[in-house]
């Protein structure tokens, strides 16, 4: 049918269709992120945050892994230094995304740069890159629309989690630390895509055990750094380099 051609044309021109296309593009990722949002909401409450604070995390921070690590630190009575270090290290990967879009974003007016930075998540990066490969150009409105749809979904999921936590309050809080650990495990395993990552994660685990055993201060940061450095040294195989490039090229 010739319809598909004309549909594609109007997709490119009409802003309304672009909004719809952006929403549809991010929809599968929005659905798959919902459990994380629910967990963030529920665990925040278990860690002792108020409903407002729990929602505020998703409204302001908008980064699943960073939020969960923050919740773990709040729950365990961690220090400010630990919070600052773990938050910046976990979100450090976003530097790559920021660097990737430097060329197309830097010349835009301030409010557009601020808005794009705010919605720049792993998921948005993936969607915007896929779209850009298809159409061969960067579409700011498409990316920001997808990002905002994702933001709204994330916050609704968090809210559902906060509400669910009210029903769970009597279930023992004893298992809170285990739930956090299980959450991190479920998050890390799918991230391990190549040999370098296997080595990095195993080295971090060993270092974390040793530092915890000898009660070394800031062991968390040091063990992560050791894993990263050792992993990077071993990430010279061709296969890994190809994978890295595929993720980074714009």
């Amino acid at each position: 049918m010739t319809d598909s051609m004309s549909a594609a044309d109007s997709n490119a021109s009409s802003p309304k269709n672009r909004t719809l296309a952006a929403t549809l593009a991010i929809l599968p990722l929005s659905i798959s992120v919902t459990p994380w949002g629910i967990l963030c909401g529920t665990l925040s409450i278990e860690a002792g945050l108020s409903g407002f604070q729990a929602q505020l995390m998703s409204l302001l921070i908008f980064a699943g892994a960073a939020q969960l690590s923050g919740i773990a630190i709040f729950g365990a009575g961690g220090s400010w230094i630990t919070l600052i270090n773990s938050t910046s290290m976990i979100t450090a990967q976003h530097l790559l995304y920021s660097a990737s879009y430097k060329a197309v974003i830097r010349s835009l007016p301030l409010y557009k740069r601020l808005l794009f930075a705010f919605v720049l998540t792993d998921e948005l990066f993936l969607i915007a890159q896929t779209e850009q490969l298809k159409s061969n150009r960067f579409d700011y409105m498409f990316a920001v629309t997808a990002g905002l749809v994702f933001y709204v979904t994330w916050n609704i999921a968090t809210f559902i989690g906060i509400v669910s936590a009210r029903f769970l309050t009597d279930i023992e809080t004893l298992g809170f630390d285990f739930t956090i650990a299980a959450t991190f495990i479920v998050m890390v395993i799918p991230m391990i895509k190549n040999k370098a990552l296997v080595i990095a994660v195993v080295m971090s685990a060993i270092a974390a055990y040793v530092f915890a055993y000898f009660e070394v201060g800031n062991g968390l940061i040091f063990s992560a750094l050791i894993g990263m450095v050792v992993g990077a040294i071993f990430s010279n195989s061709k296969e890994d380099n190809v994978n890295d490039k595929r993720e980074l090229t714009l």
Binding site: G70, A72, L95, V186, S204, E247
Partner: protein, 113 residues
């Protein structure tokens, strides 16, 4: 230590950090290029730090015992292994967490630490 009266401040601080990282290369005031080696390190940060946070929890019973043998009777350890195993096989986040928590509570019910 961060007390509950400071949670809101801590959340705002975290928001500032995550935003600053995302905005970093969009400022017009300075030009920085990422060295490829740094790029490689950045891909590894998140999994490494999440692992480093999970290990002291999963291995807590082994850490408190000098021989490490207490691990064998630790519900944290066995349920942690269950979570790892399930993550390798299935991708349903909530299902894995619910199943491994069920395992955790079952092991405690059976008398493990």
């Amino acid at each position: 230590m961060i007390t509950s009266s400071h949670f809101t401040v801590a959340i705002v601080l975290m928001a500032c950090i995550t935003f600053a990282v995302r905005y970093f290369f969009f400022t017009q005031s300075f030009q920085i290029r990422l060295h490829p080696r740094i790029e490689k390190l950045l891909v590894l940060t998140a999994p490494c730090i999440l692992t480093a946070m999970a290990v002291p929890i999963v291995f807590q019973d082994g850490l408190s015992d000098s021989s490490g043998m207490a691990l064998l009777s630790s519900s944290y350890f066995w349920a942690g292994l269950l979570a790892i195993g399930l993550s390798l096989v299935i991708r349903q986040t909530l299902l894995i967490i619910i199943l491994s928590m069920a395992g955790f509570y079952a092991l405690r019910y059976l008398g493990l630490n």
